[in-house]
């Protein structure tokens, strides 16, 4: 296979693109263009990220001293609840699929748009309405149940805006379901000629697996939240022990979605990492089909482990054993991915640009986060560390050290494609380092705090936990600054950044090779016909070097 010749290469002369096609408010708010919808999501998730971050800053400020002296207990409880709700439902779940997935899944498979463009816009509006309802709940008093809404506290005892928040989350869930439906049908039905399943970029595989989870899991959250709202408003008794209701049933129903939800949050991030590793080592991902299938394995196994959140809640010992062994099994596909990404770097041509720095950060932090998951899956240990800061550290390593890093890496990588502008590389690298340092300083001490016994969701704590908490809060301030930097220079680049070339990274993939930078409204001038495998960097090599090696040398 040779590189496309000049006569078949698309013309990339500057011209109208999806951004310049129409400047009116109407054309943005009523767009059905998946790329514009991706930008709408970018604006929303950024807003929610900083809102959730504000709550985090406040609660870390409170935790800098052992006494509860900054805010009242009830306020603190609202802060951690709203931090969790906003970050999970309004940032982590929609961010990569809504922004990068929407923008790039169709282009990567050679399609003109998603299968259901109007449904795509509806997804965004549903998300915004749910977000607005929840925001309303926040500003009219807040909610203090923890993002997990455990009954009977949430259903009977809490004195905060539980029902309103539940309605907001309920509505937003449908956004997830619609996005998932759209991606599944798009991947099945909209691939360009020659784009077989195993020629698809791993980013698409990851989003497909994510969509399966979204579609199967989110409805269960919806019904659970609906029951909670009914219980709260009409006291129907379904989780009320006085009527024979079972609060632990709430936990089962809640975690049946919320565990797979964490895979909704990390799988797209893994998809981003695959793209970045390939592009910045100029190599096909090592073990492509293993990485592809591991996404599916995570999606399936992820539905079988929810009980590991409930080892101590009163479920039977045998149920605990089953959930424990399955939780260990679900770790394996993630490990397989990390090893395959690492092996890709071997004998690659590695460039440590800003996106790649986020990748390196991801690989280290996700590994640590994933390994600490083993501590929690282990029954004997979980007895001690359940509901302590160990859990908090574990999931922040995965979600912030993993998913947020991947999101930032992806944003930087595809920024030139989306906006036709380059960001300042020096600042990019500095910010990545600041974020990495700030992150570790914030969350590593929390592992120690957890094993020491500091429980979660504590407004005040014993003096002896003070030093570690101060370190954590100090780290949070650095992390906050780290996040503000990209916000600033990325915005700056939209106006003052250098014009991006067609393919600044020299990367493979339809979005770089066949779609202009930025793309026109319908992505391609003509439907691409795919003849190459994914990540076909070998095709550019001189013949004597392109002999592919099936085994590691």
């Amino acid at each position: 296979m040779t590189a496309p010749s000049a006569s078949t290469a698309p013309s990339f002369a500057p011209r109208d693109n999806y951004l310049t096609a129409d400047y009116s408010w109407r054309s943005w708010l009523l767009t059905v263009d998946h790329k514009r919808i991706g930008i709408l999501y970018l604006l929303s998730v950024t807003g929610f990220f900083f809102l959730g971050g504000l709550f985090a800053v406040l609660l870390r400020l409170e935790l800098a001293t052992p006494q509860g002296d900054l805010v009242q207990a009830e306020t603190y409880n609202k802060l951690f609840t709203m931090h969790g709700l906003v970050m999970i439902f309004f940032f982590l779940v929609p961010s990569i699929p809504g922004v990068l997935g929407n923008f790039f899944v169709p282009i990567m498979i050679g399609a003109k748009d998603m299968a259901f463009p109007r449904l795509n816009l509806l997804s965004w509006y549903v998300y915004m309405i749910g977000g607005l309802v929840s925001f309303l709940a926040i500003i009219t008093g807040g909610v203090d149940t923890g993002w997990t809404f455990y009954a009977p506290y949430s259903s009977t005892y809490a004195n905060s805006n539980v029902a309103l928040t539940a309605v907001g989350v309920f509505i937003t869930g449908f956004s997830s379901i619609l996005t998932g439906l759209n991606i599944i049908v798009t991947v099945h039905k909209m691939r360009a000629p020659g784009m077989t399943w195993f020629r698809m970029p791993l980013f698409v595989w990851a989003h497909y697996a994510t969509s399966v989870i979204m579609v199967l899991g989110t409805p269960v959250l919806a019904i659970t939240i609906l029951l909670l709202a009914l219980e709260r408003l009409f006291h129907i008794g379904i989780f009320d022990p006085k009527l024979g209701g079972d609060p632990v049933l709430f936990q089962h129903l809640f975690w049946f979605y919320s565990h797979p939800a964490v895979y909704i949050m990390i799988l797209p991030a893994m998809g981003v990492i695959s793209e970045l590793v390939a592009a910045f080592s100029r190599k096909r991902i090592f073990g492509y089909s293993f990485v592809a299938f591991s996404s599916l394995a995570i999606a399936v196994l992820g539905f079988l482990v929810w009980g590991h959140h409930m080892f101590l809640s009163g479920q039977s010992v045998y149920a605990g054993v089953v959930f424990s062994v399955l939780s260990f099994l679900v770790a394996i596909p993630s490990a397989v991915k990390v090893f395959n990404w690492s092996a890709t770097l071997y004998k690659g041509s590695v460039q440590l640009s800003t996106p790649m720095m986020y990748v390196i950060g991801f690989l280290g932090l996700f590994t640590i986060g994933g390994l600490t998951g083993l501590f929690l899956a282990c029954l004997g240990l979980d007895v001690h560390v359940h509901d302590t800061y160990f859990v908090v550290a574990h999931f922040h390593y995965i979600m912030v050290g993993g998913a947020v890093m991947a999101f930032l890496g992806g944003i930087h990588y595809w920024w030139p494609k989306m906006f036709g502008k380059m960001y300042p590389e020096g600042l990019g690298k500095v910010s990545a380092v600041v974020i990495f340092i700030g992150f570790n300083l914030t969350f590593f001490p929390q592992f120690l705090l957890g094993y020491l016994g500091m429980p979660r969701r504590y407004h005040a704590y014993p003096e002896e936990f003070g030093v570690l908490n101060v370190l954590s809060s100090a780290g949070a301030s650095i992390l906050g600054i780290g996040y503000l930097l990209p916000m600033a220079y990325l915005l700056w680049s939209l106006r003052y950044g250098a014009e991006a070339e067609q393919n600044p990274w020299g990367a493979k993939g339809l979005e770089w090779e066949k779609a202009p930078t930025p793309p026109p409204t319908f992505n391609f001038d003509a439907t691409p016909v795919v003849t190459q495998e994914a990540y076909a960097y070998a095709d550019d090599l001189p013949p004597e070097e392109s002999r592919t090696q099936a085994r590691l040398v």
């Binding site: 259901f116 439906l181 039905k189 609906l226 129903l253």
Partner: protein, 218 residues
């Protein structure tokens, strides 16, 4: 279906051909129905858990429901699925008045179902069987019978909500039929709605025995 993509007529611009469009819509509807299974599934799971914990209370509570009314409703819904099939068939054959007629037959049967449901709900209201602070079972407040009724109202209520949405879509389809919308997407819309309607019917087929026929054999 419309021109918002900049396409004209039956084929939306982002699709290559009508077949791809139809396949996409069909897969989309099936995938959506899978999400509906999971949506109702949570309620069915809660039902299974509570029924196995409180078999006697559930059987007693179920005896408060009228299986004759439930049976009538089951027949009505099955009938409406049949008329829906006939509407789909008529759509394939582009027979305007047949489509219109069979769609409205389905709507009427669906409305009859909802009417019977109203009668049943009203009966529960009169007998203090609505879960909440005013719930009384055989004169006594509290007890696990309330759990049965919480599930009864949630499950049949959610089902009825889906029927109302379905009836609304059917009305809209009948208007499209009147306008002579017989192109490929128009015909496909009737078929997709048929899938949805059959699904809602199927949910009732599961609800009826679980809610109405518990403990009847004793």
């Amino acid at each position: 279906m419309s021109d918002s993509y900049g396409g004209h007529g039956a084929l939306a611009h982002h699709f290559e051909d009508l077949e791809q469009q139809r396949e996409a819509h069909t897969l989309g509807m099936w995938a959506f129905l899978v999400t509906e299974i999971l949506f109702f599934g949570g309620l069915f799971a809660a039902y299974v858990v509570y029924r196995s914990a409180y078999p006697e209370a559930f059987a007693n509570a179920s005896n408060q429901l009228d299986p004759v009314l439930g049976g009538i409703n089951t027949a009505v819904l099955i009938g409406s699925s049949f008329t829906m099939v006939l509407a789909v068939h008529a759509a394939q054959q582009r027979r305007k008045w047949a489509i219109f007629g069979w769609l409205w037959a389905t709507i009427v049967l669906g409305t009859a179902f909802l009417g019977v449901k109203y009668v049943e709900y009203h009966h529960k209201w009169e007998h203090h069987l609505i879960p909440g602070p005013n719930f009384l079972f055989e004169g006594q407040p509290g007890g696990s019978e309330q759990l049965f009724f919480a599930l009864y109202f949630s499950m049949t209520g959610l089902h009825a909500f889906h029927m109302v949405i379905g009836a609304g879509i059917l009305v809209w389809l009948s208007v499209l039929a009147l306008k002579g919308r017989f192109d490929e997407p128009g015909r496909n819309a009737v078929e997709m709605t048929g899938l949805y309607w059959h699904f809602v019917d199927l949910v009732w087929i599961f609800l009826f025995p679980l809610l109405y026929l518990l403990g009847r054999h004793q």
